[in-house]
Amino acid sequence: MTGEDTGEGDRLYLPPSPSSARGEGINSMKILRYILNFFLSLNTTLWFLGLLLILFFAGAFIMPGNRAFQQLHSIPLFDWIRKQPVKDIWWLLGIIGVLAVIAVNTIFCSVDSIIRKRKVTHWLLLIAPQIIHTGFIFMLLAHLLSAFGAYQKTAEVRAGTVLKISEGTFLIVDDIDINVDYYGYITAWTVDVTYTKDNQVLQTNSIMPNKPSVFQGFNINVKNIRPDPDKAALLQMNREPGAFWALTGGILFIIGIVILIVLKRKIDK
């Protein structure tokens, strides 16, 4: 992916091979040059973004009608993909492949841009697209980490329920409190939980809307709650290894765009 500063066309980094040279060395140089040209090209960015759009369009129409996708949240993406027939997920495999090419393209173009234009006056204008690109790469990294290591488990609980988290470690539901208004709408709720290890209390928490309980890298949320006939909640235990990288990537992305907008405005003036 190329930014504001790489619109001048393709660049070759490797010098042309001497005409007298022969053999495999020349061929591998040619191949290397071809690969470099491919990844340094803005055309690669545009073609692959276009291809990505087509695959997303296909997925947007295939996914809603396919029941298999309803289980996509319960296991890591790559584990889920391995169990699905290719005819259902070809578009998703395509998206992953295309994103891999775009990621390499982004890194190559950013490095190329910094090397070529390191002496420009507006260094912030040079660096802004690269900050955006770094943010984008971090976001892809986040999805990759989550696709490998995300975890999700649900359990229906009531006051007094004990859930085993790991050997010797337990989650105890102390209390479930639900506020219901005059019309029957749930307006607030609290689920009090205690974590114990070998009968020792490690931590107590109150889970509320948008306020999960965090324990040993896991997020424990309430997915659903009901006041009748008895107070019960559907607890969901999540681990998202990509969350930190997604947030970092998002922040970098925004910083880059804001710098770009401000500088463009200044230059236009």
């Binding site: 709408y185 709720w189 999540n238």
Partner: protein, 236 residues
């Protein structure tokens, strides 16, 4: 509802008297504020309130752009038609008056929705500028179109980040595989494509104008089509 009807009338009459666009915006803003006061929350749930907000945002963003275009009358007339159409659609949609589920009562949700509709409005302004470029071939329109798309893209990305933070706090994951998320990705990749395509001379001029117009069509489908037709965390 009277305020909304009056703002609809003002937008329509702005086709002849442009300053009425500002009056329409003021009336619509007053309606949104009164809805918020009545409900005791940000009135941005369901098509009635969100489309009214979208119309007001398009009118609000068109004012600064209106100062930069050469043919201001033509630009503001096009904006008046778009805002009147959205306001009419809002009036025909049922208002969502029930209290918010506790999960929606958060700063992250409010920012997510407000920023999303502001970005949609800027993509709408870019589409209007694109259609004007096709008629008048004025390069100023192309530059303004780029600016609207770039700022809209920034707000849209920010909205996605806030949405991700909210989803992480509410459901423990920043990404949920639903049709809405897929269409949001389509929109984000589409405008990424447009911002990159601009760097190639072949895409400048008419193709860029068409990209802006098609982009807004995708915005409308992502917002209305997906929310009304497909089951997702964003369904109406």
């Amino acid at each position: 509802m009277t305020l909304l009807a009056l703002s609809f009338g003002s937008y329509l009459f702005a086709l002849w008297k442009r300053p009425l666009l500002v009056l329409g915006l003021i009336l619509q803003a007053a309606y949104i504020v009164s809805r918020g006061a009545e409900l005791g929350r940000l009135p941005l749930v369901g098509p009635h309130d969100t489309i009214a907000f979208l119309a007001a945002s398009i009118a609000a963003f068109s004012i600064p752009f209106g100062f930069a275009v050469k043919n201001r009358n033509s630009f503001l007339s096009s904006v008046a038609v778009v805002t009147a159409a959205f306001t009419a659609f809002s009036m025909l949609s049922k208002a969502h008056n029930s209290p918010l589920p506790p999960i929606l009562k958060t700063f992250w949700f409010e920012c997510h929705v407000v920023l999303a509709f502001m970005s949609y409005a800027l993509f709408g302004v870019a589409a209007v500028l694109g259609s004007m470029y096709l008629k008048e071939r004025d390069p100023v329109h192309e530059g303004l179109q780029y600016r609207a798309v770039l700022i809209g893209y920034c707000l849209f990305t920010l909205s996605m980040i806030f949405g991700g933070i909210w989803a992480y706090l509410a459901w423990g994951t920043y990404w949920v595989w639903t049709p809405k998320e897929l269409w949001t990705s389509i929109l984000w990749v589409y405008y990424s494509f447009q911002l990159h395509a601009r760097l190639r001379p072949w895409w400048s001029g008419k193709p860029m104008a068409y990209l802006s117009i098609v982009g807004f069509a995708i915005v409308l489908f992502t917002y209305l089509g997906v929310s009304l037709l497909m089951k997702s965390s964003h369904s109406f």
